[in-house]
């Protein structure tokens, strides 16, 4: 990684400079501005950089070199499934015809694109065991929103108006309770037992005539399979509620178990995790939703339908009970194309191996770290595709925290695992290696963890000060939040 800080693009800017090849050819427009009433016109130009094309290319290339990424580093960020993003997925989703297609172009001018979307829906149904799929939501949390909105719509359509409570295990992703609130529901959190399974007694007490549903991730965010899932389904269904599957951890079970077979009524899938579309430094994702038969009428529109040999978007007119539209057009189409290419390349054999090798890698890494002296949060359990180690003992004995280990790992060339999530395991690191990492990479990670543990015992201060080899040392987050500098300002500016 480049360790040299890069100055702001605004510091390269000089009045009158520009990337002039990018300007439209003829300045035939200036006269048209005179037709605008002065009150509607802009008086001072926006502060955009004035730089040459080379200045821009060099600046942004240098910025990219200040990042860790899957392409450059092992990135075992738990719950995020940072697996290899095949280059073919990007190349074939960016064919000129796909890029140029306007979202409101008629279906007749998009049969190639629509056929991919239809087949993607069918494949997602098969791998999840659900009856129908909508590709519309644009991220996991967006899919969650669609799912809970469908649960509400389902109850309302039956005249069951009191059901506004969503049950969430305490280990859930923060998006689950936030989604329930956004859908106008009340959140009820329930505990998990010492082995990481849902506390059935607490669940039995929580369900009732107000239960809209439960949101579960399985394997859970604790990195273990929820063994009592059938009992959970029976309890919630028995009380008249529905089961929501958060597909954040679908990679763990791909090809082995299907949410539909576990009794889930509605699910979302993070295509940017399980189906390897890029994470893009924070998106775009894609949060396709799948449902059982009774929820199909409520799916968000549009959905791709097949008529004879052709395909078309089904909209509000075809789906009058739909929860409606969640995006201005039809979701993150280009991301969906990437997922389609990925699924076709893997095929049925490749898809079945995803869960197997993700699980193999996680259990191998877990076994080696345990032997190396790290404490597992759930030592009696199998790892799913990820697992948790806790630094609680080291924090007490050596004053070394999970954050210190995470920061020191950066110096060893590894992105840190997820830290301090799930919240109920103290000083935790959630580690997800994914199936695309080799044994050698996992071994190298273990060696670094062993070295860091050694440093913790002999030179804890070394960890406290980490990282040392990044472009910056640890940052002052308190200052960032107190003295808000949310836009760039010239150094000599008073502001």
């Amino acid at each position: 990684m480049n360790q040299t800080l890069e100055k702001s693009i605004f510091e390269y800017s000089q009045p009158g400079r520009g990337a002039f090849a990018q300007h439209p050819p003829v300045a035939d427009g200036a006269a048209v501005l005179d037709t605008l009433p002065p009150a509607l016109r802009r008086r001072t130009p926006p502060r955009l950089p004035e730089v040459s094309e080379l200045d821009a290319v060099r600046h942004f290339t240098r910025l990219s070199q200040l990042n860790f990424s899957i392409d450059t580093n092992f990135y075992p960020l738990g719950s995020c499934t940072m697996k290899y993003n095949p280059k073919a997925c990007n190349q074939y989703a960016m064919l000129p015809e796909f890029l140029a297609r306007h979202p409101l172009a008629p279906d007749t001018q998009g049969q190639g694109f629509l056929s991919c979307m239809f087949e993607l829906q069918e494949m997602l149904k098969e791998v999840t065991g659900m009856k129908a799929v909508s590709l519309n939501p644009m991220a996991g949390a967006h899919g969650e929103f669609a799912g809970v909105a469908m649960i509400r719509a389902y109850h309302r359509a039956r005249g069951d108006l009191a059901r506004n409570e969503i049950i969430v295990p305490e280990a859930a992703h923060g998006t689950n309770p936030a989604t329930a609130t956004m859908c106008g529901c009340v959140v009820k959190e329930i505990p998990v037992d010492a082995q990481g399974d849902v506390d059935l007694e607490a669940l039995a007490k929580a369900v009732g005539p107000n239960t809209a549903g439960i949101m579960l991730t399985n394997p859970s965010t604790l990195g273990v399979f929820e063994r009592k899932i059938e009992a959970v389904a029976k309890l919630v269904h028995g009380a008249g509620g529905l089961l929501y599957y958060d597909g954040a951890n679908l990679n763990a079970i791909l090809g082995k178990v299907r949410p539909g077979d576990m009794g889930f009524d509605v699910i979302h899938m993070n295509l940017h995790k399980t189906f390897s579309t890029p994470h893009g430094g924070g998106g775009p994702g894609a949060g396709a939703v799948g449902v059982s038969a009774r929820l199909e009428p409520f799916l968000p529109v549009p959905v791709v339908g097949r008529e004879g040999e052709g395909y078309r978007w089904l909209s509000e007119a075809d789906r009058p009970q739909s929860i409606g539209r969640l995006s201005a057009f039809m979701g993150n189409a280009g991301v969906l194309l990437r997922a389609y290419v990925y699924m076709r390349m893997l095929g049925r054999e490749g898809m079945s191996r995803v869960g197997e090798y993700a699980t193999l890698n996680a259990n191998y890494l877990m076994a080696r770290l345990r032997t190396a002296g790290f404490d597992l949060a759930y030592p009696t359990r199998r790892a799913s595709h990820e697992f948790i180690i806790t630094m609680k003992r080291q924090a007490r004995e050596l004053n070394v925290t999970a954050m210190d280990v995470a920061k020191r790992l950066l110096d060893y060339g590894f992105h840190a695992p997820t830290t301090y999530f799930p919240l109920l395991v103290p000083e935790c690191l959630l580690i997800e290696p994914t199936e695309t990492e080799s044994r050698e990479t996992l071994d190298a990670f273990v060696e670094s963890m062993v070295a860091i543990l050694g440093e913790a015992q002999t030179d804890a201060a070394r960890l406290k000060g980490a990282p040392y080899t990044m472009p910056v040392r640890r940052l002052d987050d308190v200052r960032a939040a107190k003295q808000l500098e949310l836009t760039w300002k010239p150094v000599n500016s008073a502001a």
């Binding site: 094309e53 059938e230 076709r344």
Partner: protein, 454 residues
């Protein structure tokens, strides 16, 4: 196993280390009754060569018509450097910059984006992006409800000149929280918000007025007067704007005496390909006083242990991973890569280039409208100033005319029949800087023939 590196020897070694007999044994905590034996419904895998051939065949079915479609997604030239850099693995395959020290590239880029988009919109602070224009309007509506100090009505005014698709997204997103939207009609002469109808809401408890500029018809609203009126009524103002237009149009931060309160829009025109509707990104900017009500990631500049400047995610106490059920929004993953493309786009075109693009769009559309208006059976719907779109009225059902144009390789506009039936047969047409005079002529000739034919 296209992307799995394990050899048979690796697997044996790893299972031995774990103490398991087989990979299958690792799944022994899953009830046997739930396990499946395969995925027969999935076709066999393809090599990269085979998928390449398949995708090229599919793409060729989509054609490359000459398009005059807009309505929220616009064809613009995209500099080659934009996607050459955006798809570098270090941007493409990184994630949300949780480990700031190992993500300074993404973080600094977001900070530069925040600087550019706040300046473009004339506001003070920005987040790191939302899903798209439609969902950004929905988030703005929810934000207005949180940010308004007195209004408890949960009522918002959304004029019918706001993109109908956005209005539907707002309804499906914010409606669940009890937020209600009332539609204000437009004037048939101008295609702009009807001020008399608006005045009917004077004195009522309403949280916010949404103003789209240019509006869905491409017409320019009297934003100063609308903003001042809303503020006088105690409403917040949510501006919905096209970023290209802001190179020449007054930014929302300068609307009326006080400026708009929240500004959102579709970021697609800034270097993002049309791509059947996504991925795009929504932008959102606001005043500093409302920053803690804003959803999404925000990057701040700070210093490290040694006093060197650096960037980090900040104000995270608003977000779901900290606040859970009390967060400002459930948003987590947003549209980082598209924001990256937009930042590089804005840098490459610069202030002068963006103004050129905007002027060029206006000039092309003006040229198109004046020529279309001369065809028998075509009328321009609204008088007044417009940006790069216009409504034209036809003397027969638009759908049939569009089919005739499509047969000649032309997408001649968006049919407004279902959203604005009161207009009669009507098309929303758009011409950007990508259209040549010959392109416009081809459209005009084809439309003339189509109308003469019947």
């Amino acid at each position: 196993m296209p992307f799995i590196p394990h050899t048979a020897a690796d697997v044996q070694h790893m299972l031995h280390t774990i103490g398991a007999d087989s990979i299958d044994a690792l799944f022994d905590e899953i009830p046997e009754s739930l396990r499946i034996q395969g995925l027969e419904g999935i076709p066999p895998g393809l090599s990269e060569m085979e998928i390449g051939r398949l995708m090229s065949e599919r793409a060729s079915l989509d054609g490359r018509p000459l398009s005059f479609l807009g309505a929220g997604a616009y064809e613009h030239h995209i500099p080659s450097a934009v996607w050459a850099i955006t798809t570098r693995g270090e941007f493409y395959s990184a994630y949300t910059p949780y480990q700031a020290e190992a993500s300074q590239g993404t973080l600094q880029l977001i900070h530069e984006y925040q600087t550019m988009i706040t300046s473009l919109t004339g506001m003070e602070v920005s987040n790191a992006s939302l899903y798209d224009g439609g969902s950004a309007v929905a988030e703005a509506a929810l934000m207005a409800v949180r940010a308004h100090r007195r209004s408890r009505s949960l009522r918002l005014l959304i004029p019918s000149t706001v993109n109908p698709s956005y209005r539907r997204v707002v309804q499906s997103t914010a409606g669940n929280q009890g937020v209600r939207f009332e539609t204000v009609p437009y004037l048939r002469e101008s295609g702009c918000i009807d001020p008399v109808a608006l005045e009917g809401y004077a004195g009522e408890d309403i949280t916010a007025l949404v103003i789209q500029q240019p509006n869905f018809f491409g017409q320019l609203e009297d934003v100063d007067r609308l903003t001042d009126w809303a503020h006088a009524q105690g409403m917040l103002v949510i501006a919905v704007v096209n970023p290209t237009s802001l190179a020449v149009l007054k930014p929302p931060g300068e609307w009326g005496a006080k400026g708009a309160d929240i500004c959102v829009g579709e970021g697609q025109p800034l270097g993002v390909p049309l791509s059947s509707g996504g991925p795009y990104f929504g932008f959102m900017t606001t005043r500093m006083e409302y920053v803690r009500s804003m959803p999404g990631r925000i990057v701040g500049r700070t210093v490290d242990l040694e006093g060197r400047p650096g960037y980090t995610l900040t104000l995270q106490a608003r977000e779901q991973h900290i606040r859970r059920g009390k967060a400002t929004s459930n948003i987590c993953t947003n549209q980082g890569l598209l924001m990256t493309a937009a930042t590089i786009y804005m840098t490459l075109v610069g202030p002068a280039g963006l103004a050129r693009v905007a002027e060029s769009c206006m000039a092309r559309t003006a040229e198109l409208v004046s020529t279309l208006g001369q065809i028998k059976g075509v009328r321009v719907a609204f008088a007044g100033s417009r940006f790069h779109e216009a409504v034209v009225l036809l003397d027969r059902p638009a759908a049939a005319v569009l089919r005739q144009l499509e047969a000649q390789g032309i997408l001649g506009g968006v049919d407004l029949a279902s959203d604005y039936p009161e207009l009669g047969p009507a098309l929303l047409v758009c011409a950007t800087e990508t259209k040549t005079t010959a392109d416009l002529q081809r459209f005009v000739d084809s439309l003339r023939r189509a109308l003469e034919a019947a």
